[in-house]
Amino acid sequence: MRAWVTRDPIDAGALLGAVGAPADGAALLFVGTVRDHNDGRPVVGVRYEAYVEMAERVLGQIAAEAAARLGTDRLVVVHRIGELAVGEASVAIAVSSPHRAEAFDACRFVIEEIKRRVPIWKEEHYAGDEAPRWLAGAIPPIPEARP
């Protein structure tokens, strides 16, 4: 199990090599990429910013929760930050497990939880003079006050 943030391009194929075992019958690799449009508006690139130390901590928590659902610790997740061009991978998740249902469930869980609670922000860049814009995000779940 490994969860990290990087400024370097993601080698998604290599991630698949980091999971898998003789006991496993299913491996799944999810890759999130930068789209050339959003909300009907053309996008020329994006910039991701992170609270890196906390983002890696939360990614690690998500990975541990996902591993419990997966039934194995064969799960790696990486999120890229910095300037990304259209088509580049911003996030990749690889998992493997004896059965496919758990692999699909755990992989989907990781990407949904990343969007819900990892302290990473995305600024979209547009063609021409239009100013970059921070994307409207999700309000992360905040724990209750301890009594």
Binding site: G32, Y48, E49, A50, Y51, E53, M54, A55, R57, H79, S90, V91, I111, I114, K115, R116, R117, V118, P119, I120, W121, K122, E123, W134, L135, A136, G137, A138, I139, P140, P141, I142, P143, E144, A145
Partner: protein, 81 residues
């Protein structure tokens, strides 16, 4: 006591700086700091009344009582993935 403040993304744009040190009274909560920042004017007057915050790299309620040396981060709605 001294608190280290971190601002990210939209909130960094409001603050104009990514971080600052703040001297505050013992017993202050995260909510106290939010109030002080909003009253001080400038871009941070537009900080929401109840922003998400993290204390020492962990999400925390605004009622969290701060201690000397704590790192208090202001986190806009997140948009990773």
């Amino acid at each position: 006591m001294r608190i280290r403040l971190l601002f990210f993304a939209l909130y960094r744009d409001l603050a104009g700086v990514p971080e600052m040190e703040l001297e505050t009274r013992p017993g202050a909560t995260a909510a106290t700091i939010v109030e002080e920042l909003r009253r001080a004017g400038g871009g941070l007057a537009r900080l929401p009344e109840t922003p998400a915050v993290a204390v020492n790299r962990e999400y925390a309620p605004l009622s969290t009582v701060l201690r000397d040396g704590d790192e208090l981060a202001f986190l806009p709605p997140v948009a990773g993935g």
